[in-house]
Amino acid sequence: MMNFNRLRSALARCGRWAGLLGLAGAALLSGCATPANPREDTEYQTYATAASRPTVRPVRSVSSFSDSLMCMDRMFREAQLPTTLITSKQIPDFSTKVPVAVKEMIITSLSQMSRLSNAFRYVDYEVDIARQDTVQNLTTILLNNNQIQLQRPALYFSGAIAFVDQSVLGNRLAAGTAASRLDTGYSRNRNATIIGLEMHIGDFRTRTLIPGLDSANEVIISSGGQGLDLAGRIGSYGVQFNVGRDYTQGTGAAVRTLVELATIELVGKWARVPYWQCLTLEQTHPHFQQQLRDWYDEGSPLAHHQLVQRSLMSQGYLANNGMPMDANHPEFRSALTRFQADAGMVVSGAVDFPTYERALRNFVALDKDGRLMQIGWTSTQPLPSAVAAATPQGPVPAGSPPPVAYGAAPQVRNIDLQIENVLVGRTAFEVGEQVFVSASLSRASYLYCFLQEAGGAVLRLLPNATNPNALLSASQAIRIPDWMSPTPGFIMDSTSAGTERLGCFATQEDVAAKLPELLRAPPLAPLLEVRSLDSVGEAFARTLGSEGYTRAAVEWRVVPRRTAAAAPVAAPAPVASR
């Protein structure tokens, strides 16, 4: 009886196993026989579009010398440096360890030093038969038909990533313990690597490197890490724990720092401007960004918003009417986007860390111990701690905007007008000669420009049919006419002898509807019943009040065209008047 029961139990177990195996086999066969149905995953798949997007906003790539580049740009504008054609050789990497587009970084640096000053214009002409693309093919076609105008550079950059000394310094520490119930291990390492960049400026006409125009700099990048490994038993359970944290400073940011420093040094020496004043800014402190990030982390989102708002008020972007604005207030967002555009940032309309850093970076200085400190504000308190006048400790670079204190009254808007022609040995234009003017704003504004001809007729130049938008950013000079645009819309040349004046008016808001006789009339045509720039100014003053707009003007003399034997004309130099 016992054996029979055991046999029956064994048969039952076998039956169950056979059933399970049968089911598994059937499932396997059905799975292999029928294709997967992607429609069953439709709901899951719909998340892919959103999941594939980056979750962090892109930011502008900056280095410790990005503010120095802007400083150089202002310095060049102040010095009225004529536009110079420049190009660069390829910058090879002899170390073969730094795959970085150095030449493109040079172009970016030169461009950033030319936003307001138009100091450098890069000649981009590459011939590489192995890499034919649309631009190269079209260049060849147009050159053969004389339909492209090559420009001859005056200067060129030469250089190389000269060396990489890897792991010049390296420290390692590792320790472990073992016991009956707990094993531990700890490790730490750090090392330092040096990257060196050599750059020079050459005279293109002679293909010689100009003596003294050299820049050889090194930068250190480092890496390090810590790791902890724990293993043990708690009762009958085994536990394993491993953590690590590492940092590696990239070669891209390091080389950008070197390239920007080298371009500042080289073109500063070449142009004979006091470039060193731009290298001593507080913002060039290597810890500047990280220190601002620490202060940012100390404050709450509300504090960030209020700090940025007050900074915008101090810089004139936002009216201080005593009313707090939330982050989505249209007036605040409009001011914030103008500020971001002027600061050369990626315009987001949000108070994120890059905005916080840009808004408050002018209110930071070095204390007597060389540490960065806040001037007139704290990380958590948006109210000004002390309305101290921002008095820079070092020399003020030429063309720098007037120092402003956090919480102080807003800056007055400024328009800077310059004649871009190089009048070598002359002080006046001749009839028929083209005139090129540039305007720069201290902050984004609506800009309206008028020309008073020698005969007295007044025309509106900007806005016009080609450039209908009057709202312009302060991050770039406005060329009048835009001689670098394929469609400049107009040219300015003098038709009769006398004095011509160009005047520009800047406002916070669009005033086209308030001044229809001036701003709605056809552009580039004489304005009826407007006899001078002064009458344009009076119209602005009547409509907006004397504080409601900013005005600047520049004038030049036009003399009859010289004959070949005529003596040079002596006349006053073009002057800017306000």
Binding site: P99, A174, E453, G489
Partner: protein, 177 residues
């Protein structure tokens, strides 16, 4: 002041180049006034700027170069070397992390400590090295293995499924005589 609407007709007044395809001509129209500064005022009768090339100008207007222009005019045949000259050596990313990552090194440190303790467990050391020698005529082969997973367990297929932690406390020398 000439206020011109945009005109797209191209009025070519410059001399056309002589030469066939692949020929590039360079000639300056006038010596520069300043060494490093572009020409501002040349007597060329055409608008040399590509940007201004689309503008129809009255004949009375004397064209000048815009700021930042120093055009080259092609008049003579110049052969431009357009052969591929071999690119620069490609750079590889710098491996700043020299050696083992810290988190892995910590694990190694733990095993090393454990191997040196009385709780060695399954950690193999040099004392677990197995040595074997075989000779085939004049040829002798010596093998020294520690923690090898190539030896199959009896009755099992595939590699041995044992923990592969080996800590060598010193040199592992095998003199094959």
């Amino acid at each position: 002041m000439h206020a011109l609407s945009v005109c797209f007709s191209f009025r070519q007044k410059c001399r056309a180049p002589q030469g066939g395809p692949g020929t590039i001509f360079f000639e300056r129209t006038k010596k520069p006034v300043m060494n490093h500064y572009p020409l501002r005022h040349t007597a060329c009768a055409c608008l040399l700027s590509l940007g201004f090339a689309g503008l129809c100008l009255p004949a009375s207007v004397r064209a000048q170069n815009a700021p930042g222009e120093d055009p080259v005019v092609l008049t003579n045949r110049i052969s431009v070397q357009m052969l591929p000259m071999g690119g620069a050596n490609a750079s590889a990313p710098l491996n700043a992390q020299n050696g083992m990552p810290a988190w892995m090194q910590a694990k190694v440190a733990r095993f090393e400590a454990k191997a040196n303790s009385e709780q060695g467990g399954d950690i193999l050391t040099d004392s677990n090295a197995t040595r074997s020698a075989s000779s085939d005529g004049l040829k002798k082969t010596c093998i020294q293995e520690v923690g090898s997973n190539t030896a199959q367990a009896p009755g099992k297929f595939g590699l041995a499924n044992t923990q592969q932690i080996v800590v060598l406390k010193g040199d592992l020398v095998n003199i094959c005589k």
